[in-house]
């Protein structure tokens, strides 16, 4: 029996045990960091710095203006646009947020599940691509009646991703290879394999091949139906996401399967002594995790009637890691985190209209996760009481930080 402590698993456990207060503070801090970047890149502000001491109000005014413009645009682009002439147009941003949040929530659930089992699945990208390959195959190469076609295509996406996940778990259990390495490598393999498939019209590529890597659009019978009529892009993907949130909650909090998954995550040695096969649990966990990611793949492959490009994975596999971390790897948390980051995606274009580069949102997103992942740092900044622990090590760490810090 190996007793090697997994550092990543240990760090994850600590990060995920954060409180709601800390999460909200982290989000607030993330926006603050984003504001600093917005101000720093604003022309009016930089110019007014030249005469800051004669008229400081100019600089402060410019700073205030760019931040309110930027975040105002984000709000109008992602939640409610009060300036729009019709009601439909004014709530359109919210529907876009929901549409873009769906795959983030789905993949976030998948990644969060592995965190709970003490694994680090960073193969979301590879698994999404694997799911898209299968879903696209069903959607473009198989003819089936309405409804059934979509159901089969979604199932194919789930199966495609789950099999790749389970394979990763199997390799880990069988050979002891670390899942981080395995999933990174599968990301590459799947990305180029997808490219290869899309380039050949006899495989997944366009029938009327142009030499570009692109798939045919999904058959109308396989496309996920629109939810609010043709005026909106929002489709059934968000309902799949909500259903997945409920399934995830049941699985992890209520079922005996999730109980064993969590047990292995908390203490694999005790789980083994209690008769749980840790190896099989790893395979199962990677498989179920990837199955959730697979729903996101189906969402991508069947969500629109445009054919897929190699970049259709849209980096969701990586964004999902931040979603899972921010959401504390539990169902409601991931739902909210997915919505937040979905809003970022939806609001980015309207920020650009105001001359604020939407990359700021990437910084906000990264900063939030950074603050989440640095609990002692957060406690230091906000002078929160340390978590109640009698561990001498934790106390030692706190003291070291205090000494190096402001005090």
């Amino acid at each position: 029996m190996s007793r090697e402590p997994d550092n990543i698993a240990q760090a994850l456990k600590e990060i995920l045990s954060g409180s709601i207060t800390r999460t909200i503070l982290a989000i607030f801090m993330g926006f603050l960091v984003g504001a600093v970047f917005m101000i720093g890149s604003d022309k009016a502000f930089i110019e007014s710095l030249g005469y800051f001491f004669s008229r400081p109000a100019d600089a402060l005014g410019a700073a205030f203006a760019v931040v309110t413009d930027g975040y105002g645009a984000l709000f109008r682009g992602s939640i409610f646009n009060g300036d729009a002439e019709t009601f439909e147009k004014s709530i359109r941003p919210l529907t876009e947020t929901l549409r873009l949040a769906a795959p983030l929530i789905l993949a976030g659930l998948g990644i969060g599940l592995t965190f709970r089992v003490g694994l680090f699945n960073i193969g979301g990208t590879g698994q999404i691509i694997s799911g898209m390959i299968w879903a696209t195959f069903v959607a473009t190469r198989v003819e089936l009646p309405f409804v059934i076609h979509a159901v089969v295509a979604v199932s194919a996406g789930i199966a495609g991703a789950a099999l790749l996940g389970a394979l990763t778990g199997y390799l880990k259990a069988r050979t002891g290879a670390h899942e981080v390495i395995l999933t990174i490598m599968f990301n590459y393999i799947m990305f180029y394999f997808f490219n290869f498939l899309l380039k050949d019209s006899s495989l997944l590529g366009e029938e009327a091949s142009t030499g570009n890597a692109k798939a045919d659009p999904a058959a109308a019978s396989a496309v996920l139906p629109k939810l609010l009529g043709d005026g909106f892009n929002l489709h059934w993907g968000i309902l799949l996401a909500l259903a997945a949130v409920i399934v995830f909650w049941w699985l992890m909090e209520r079922s005996t399967i999730g109980f064993r998954l969590r047990m292995v995550g908390e203490n694999p040695d005790a789980a083994r002594s209690a008769g749980v096969s840790v190896e099989r649990t790893y395979i199962l966990a990677m498989g179920i995790s990837a199955a959730f990611v697979g729903v996101a793949a189906a969402n991508q492959a069947l969500g629109s009637s445009i054919g897929l490009y190699p970049s259709a994975h849209a980096n969701i596999g990586f964004d999902a890691i931040t979603v899972a971390l921010l959401g504390g790897s539990n169902a409601p948390g991931i739902l909210l985190a997915g919505l937040l980051f979905g809003a970022f995606k939806a609001g980015a274009p309207s920020m650009q209209v105001f001359g604020v580069s939407p990359e700021v949102l990437g910084i906000v997103q990264g900063a939030i996760v950074l603050f989440i992942a640095a609990p002692p740092l957060m406690r230091m900044i906000f002078r929160l009481p340390p978590p109640q622990t009698s561990s001498a090590l934790a106390t030692l760490r706190k003291k070291t930080l205090k000494r190096g810090g402001s005090k």
């Binding site: 029996m1 007793r3 456990k13 209520r254 079922s255 005996t256 399967i257 109980f259 064993r260 969590r262 047990m263 908390e266 203490n267 040695d269 005790a270 789980a271 083994r272 002594s273 209690a274 008769g275 749980v276 096969s277 109640q388 009698s390 001498a392 106390t395 030692l396 003291k399 000494r403």
Partner: protein, 501 residues
């Protein structure tokens, strides 16, 4: 150096871990701090060592008030601490470990390992430690590693030495050697704080005894006090140190082990041709000094470690379980109390209720299809908590927050509440306070009286003699002899040293 703690109070939220504790350790005195697990001994020493800030009270050294911001300050002032879990780097040599943190350097700033080695030899010779400075720590026996820790403290000129449960990891011989060392150190003027819950050691070595219970000092005494007096001070009531046990006629064979061979983690043959059987209504104790294959034997029975194929056989009620999985073995009706409670016995991040179902999560009274039956689980947990006297506020408390004794009661509750025919208990009372030991012992005897077979793996001779119907003594992977509990301690000691009768 004289150490004085005056009115130390330490609170964690609403929990008062130390309440107005006074303690005076005279120079050259061995002062035993005796108390159950969770009594607040370790907290007190962490305050002394600067790891915790006391809420009230002061620490005085030679009557001068001290204020430590961390272990560094405490070491500077002359306090050395030997933790229960050694703070050594396994791949470094003894000299390197001792030098770590205060490395002697030569003219160009490189480590002067010769000076470090000399320091180790000096201290080692002075007290007869017999420690080789160039040995790699990972290759040393536990007892010697502990001496390295002591050398480390002494090389920093520690004149107050705190030993936190130092004998928990030692064999009886090593314990005796440690006590000799403690006496020598005291004779040379070092003050020693000896934290323990083992009464016999306290009586053997201490000059003065302070008993702590529930964070308070309940009394001070001298080693002349009787063992039962000390025990009752610790637990606050009289405890029977012997177990009431009626003779019982054993029934049919429940477990038979035949010519079993098992490898350890390093690929060495840890169990080498072991044969024995256990009958219903009988406690078979596997005695022996730690590391003679008992751990591997227990793990092989449970299915955690596969025996060498083609050699030997394990049968449970006639059924061959030599190569069964852990789950199969447990579900056939075997209960298992693992040797290492915190790593194998409980899931610290799970609640007590969750811990009670970790080995019955497939199909059991805790489940309803693939759902957890939360109502039933709460009810069962509440019942077991009161039946097994687990001191906790609710069944939803995290197991990791319980004291060692209470954690072990959770493990015992889990295993004994299942309907099993065989109980394999590995070190069931290691690191457990006197009150819990008594309780767990009586429950094990109860199981036997109900007609269950029990395999008790223990390195504590007292425990073996109190519980066993037959004693199998293991030495270097072999069973030297199987004897009755009326065998004298001397004879058992000889067997444990490998001398066959």
């Amino acid at each position: 150096m004289k150490l004085e703690l005056r009115g130390i109070t330490k609170r964690f939220g609403t929990l008062v871990a130390n309440e107005a504790i006074d303690l005076v350790v005279e120079p050259g005195e061995i002062h035993a701090l005796l108390g159950e697990n969770g009594a607040g001994k370790s907290t007190l020493m962490n305050v002394l060592f600067g790891l915790y800030d006391a809420d009230e009270g002061i620490v005085l050294l030679d009557d001068k008030p001290q204020s430590f911001a961390g272990p560094g300050d405490a070491m500077e002032a002359g306090i050395g601490m030997v933790h229960q879990h050694f703070m050594l780097i396994p791949v470094f040599t003894v000299a390197e470990n001792v030098a770590l943190g205060q490395e002697p350097t030569n003219a160009i700033g490189a480590i002067d390992i010769a000076a470090a080695r000399k320091r180790v030899v000096e201290i080692s010779d002075q007290f007869g430690f017999n420690v080789e400075p160039d040995a790699r720590v990972e290759n040393l026996p536990v007892g010697v590693q502990q001496r390295v820790e002591i050398i480390k403290a002494l090389s920093r000129n520690a004149r107050v030495l705190v030993l936190d449960e130092p004998t928990a990891v030692l064999t009886p011989q090593e314990t005796d050697e440690l006590m000799e060392i403690m006496k020598q150190l005291a004779a040379s003027g070092t003050s020693i704080v000896f934290i323990t819950h083992k009464l016999r050691e306290v009586k053997a070595v201490a000059d003065k005894i302070t008993v702590v219970r529930l964070g308070k000092v309940v009394g001070s005494t001298t080693p002349d006090a009787s063992t039962s007096e000390l025990a009752s001070m610790m637990v606050g009531r009289d405890v029977g140190l012997t177990v009431d046990k009626e003779p019982r006629e054993p029934g049919e064979i429940v477990l038979s082990v035949e010519n079993l061979a098992v490898l350890d983690d390093r690929g060495q043959r840890a169990v080498d041709g072991v044969t024995f059987e256990v009958r219903a209504g009988e406690i078979l104790a596997i005695a022996g000094v730690q590391g003679n294959g008992q751990t591997e034997l227990a793990e092989a029975i449970i299915g955690l470690r596969s025996p060498l194929t083609g050699l030997g056989k394990i049968a449970f009620r006639g059924e061959d379980i030599t190569h069964s999985t852990v789950r199969q073995v447990l579900e056939l009706g075997v209960g298992y109390i693992p040797e290492d409670r915190s790593s194998d016995g409980v899931v610290g991040g799970f609640t007590i209720a969750e811990n009670l179902m970790i080995n019955s999560s497939y199909k059991s009274r805790f489940t309803k299809g693939v759902n957890i039956n939360f109502a039933a689980r709460r009810q069962i947990a509440d019942g077991l908590i009161s039946e097994f006297d687990v001191r906790t506020q609710s069944s939803e408390t995290l197991a990791g927050k319980l004291s060692g004794g209470n954690q072990q009661k959770v493990v015992a509750a889990r295993e004994l509440s299942r309907d099993v025919d065989l109980l394999v208990a590995s070190q069931p009372t290691r690191g457990v306070d006197v009150g819990s030991i008594e309780f767990i012992h009586s429950r094990i005897v109860q199981e036997r009286d109900k007609g269950k077979a029990v395999v008790l793996v223990s390195t504590e001779l007292d425990e073996v003699l109190a519980l066993a119907d037959r004693i199998a003594v293991m030495y270097r992977g072999k069973i030297v002899d199987i004897v009755t509990p009326s065998t004298s301690r001397e004879q058992l000691g000889k067997l444990m040293a490998g001398v066959a009768s």
